[in-house]
């Protein structure tokens, strides 16, 4: 795989859950260094695209490739080692007796290999990830004692600790308040800027998307309906795929928010 090759691609991919089509003939590419926002209404197929790339969902038709290789059962573990995955926050059981450091250390498991203890390099990588995300002071706290925003930061630190070549984030701010959401998205923008990491960020609300995104994709009822520059998404015709009849109102609110943000 050379540097110009896509990091991940879907080529004419369709997915069915029983008789229900979840994705229809979707083609897309993630190029090295892309920070792509994947938006769409609930149930539009955003998470299915992300799960296809992780190999948790198999396509009914089409070709899914990550790092130039087909996402096939025999290659999954090797591919997943290079992918940092951050799920939606409520998906994690917070009762477990694990510290923040233990959770971040999960990111080193595959690199270290089964049956081997974490070495000095692994511990250094864990400390560096905690530091990069700004939660080093929380390292020994029980994971369940963190706030929602802190937990998501710990999950991002875990994914970063893996030293991934691709980050997949599934609505990482869905359960956060506005302040924590902005902080989390700023953090992602900083990670992308500092590490030139290829990132795919699934969000259902485009008003929350970081302006650092290089591209935006929109899926609507299983079809990819928009794939262009992020600014291009901010037009009523394109927003209609996400917000239906409420698109003009959302656009007005977005412009109002932007103009207020620009005021001194």
């Amino acid at each position: 795989m050379n540097s110009a090759d896509p990091v991940a691609s879907l080529s004419r991919v369709s997915v069915r859950f029983g008789r229900h089509p979840a994705l229809r003939d979707v083609s897309l590419e993630l190029r090295p260094g892309d920070f792509v926002a994947l938006a769409g209404a609930n149930g539009s197929g955003k998470t299915t695209i992300l799960r296809l790339l992780l190999g948790f969902v198999r396509p009914a038709a089409g070709d899914v490739r990550v790092f130039g290789q087909p996402v096939a059962p025999g290659a999954l573990r090797a591919l997943r080692r290079r992918i940092g995955y951050v799920p939606q926050s409520p998906a994690v059981d917070v009762r477990l007796p694990l510290s923040v450091r233990d959770v971040v250390a999960i990111g080193r498991c595959a690199r270290t290999g089964p049956g081997r203890r974490l070495g000095r390099d692994d511990r250094a990588a864990i400390a560096a990830s905690l530091d990069a995300i700004g939660i080093a002071h929380l390292a020994d706290r029980p994971f369940g004692h963190l706030s929602g925003g802190e937990r998501q930061k710990a999950q991002i630190a875990r994914a970063l600790c893996q030293e991934p070549d691709l980050m997949l984030l599934d609505e990482p701010t869905s359960s956060l308040d506005l302040g924590a959401r902005c902080e989390c998205l700023d953090l992602l923008a900083r990670i992308h800027r500092d590490r030139a990491l290829t990132m795919l960020l699934v969000m259902h609300d485009i008003e929350a998307l970081p302006r650092a995104c290089t591209r935006a994709l929109v899926v609507d009822r299983g079809a990819l309906v928009f794939d262009a520059d992020f600014r291009g998404l901010l037009r009523a015709a394109n927003l209609r795929h996400i917000y239906r009849q409420n698109a003009p109102r959302v656009l007005r609110e977005l412009r109002l928010a932007e103009s207020q943000a620009e005021e001194p």
């Binding site: 573990r77 080692r81 992918i83 477990l96 510290s99 498991c109 595959a110």
Partner: protein, 276 residues
Amino acid sequence: MIEWLQLGFMRNAALACLFGGASLSILGVCVTLMDIPFLGISMSHSALLGAIAGLLCGFDPLLGAIAACAISGVLIGPVADRAGASANVILGIVFSATMGLAFLLLTRIPGPKTEALNLIWGSILTISRREVWLLGIIFALTVLLLTVFFKEIAAVLFHREIAAASGIAADLFHYGIIFVSGLIVSASLDIVGGLLIFSLLVNPASAAYQLTYRLPTMFLLAALFGVASCFAGLLVSYLLNVPTGAVIVLASSTVFLLAFLFSPKRRQTPASQETP
């Protein structure tokens, strides 16, 4: 006080308490954190079915019990995944099916059914040297697997999909925990019996959970509580001439009650409970 240890059957019982109590409690940490406490009940009834099948067909009931649990252990995880159902639902189906079949076969055994019924109620005082060896081997295997694969087991307990997405063979470890639990439950049935084995899986682990926020400490405390409950049960039953299995269960329940009452967690309100 320790003259009871000079009796051969009590020495066997004490070793069974040490190995079985520790193995069940260590496994109990995984079972409670995976939220599948019914695993113990389901496996013990699979063991009962295997033992009865052994008695009927003329082979060793212990081997029958182990084989039946191994088969259940191999099937439960993948069937739950493919059916898209919770593991608890599949455990309920396995439990009821094996219990129905076991009682159907039980009526076919001619004469006294003591050997089969011992598996339901337990008979730690009649445990043989061979069974103690088996428990010892299973205990050593459990500790070895836990030590070698601790970080993978912790990752799977945290979140199976995140573990898989990080490149860990999460399904293998998930199914492996269920399979090993089958082996441990079937080999430990003589301690408290199939109906009460649930308590040794759940109580020591739940007591340990009350006292720590660290997973390695939880495994260690659970093993300690499991062994202590078994020894307490054995000693009290010897002194008061009451059924051992029942006292072991009551001892482990008391340990949980004490841990709950003195839990430092009750004096704190974690952020997770403050915000939805």
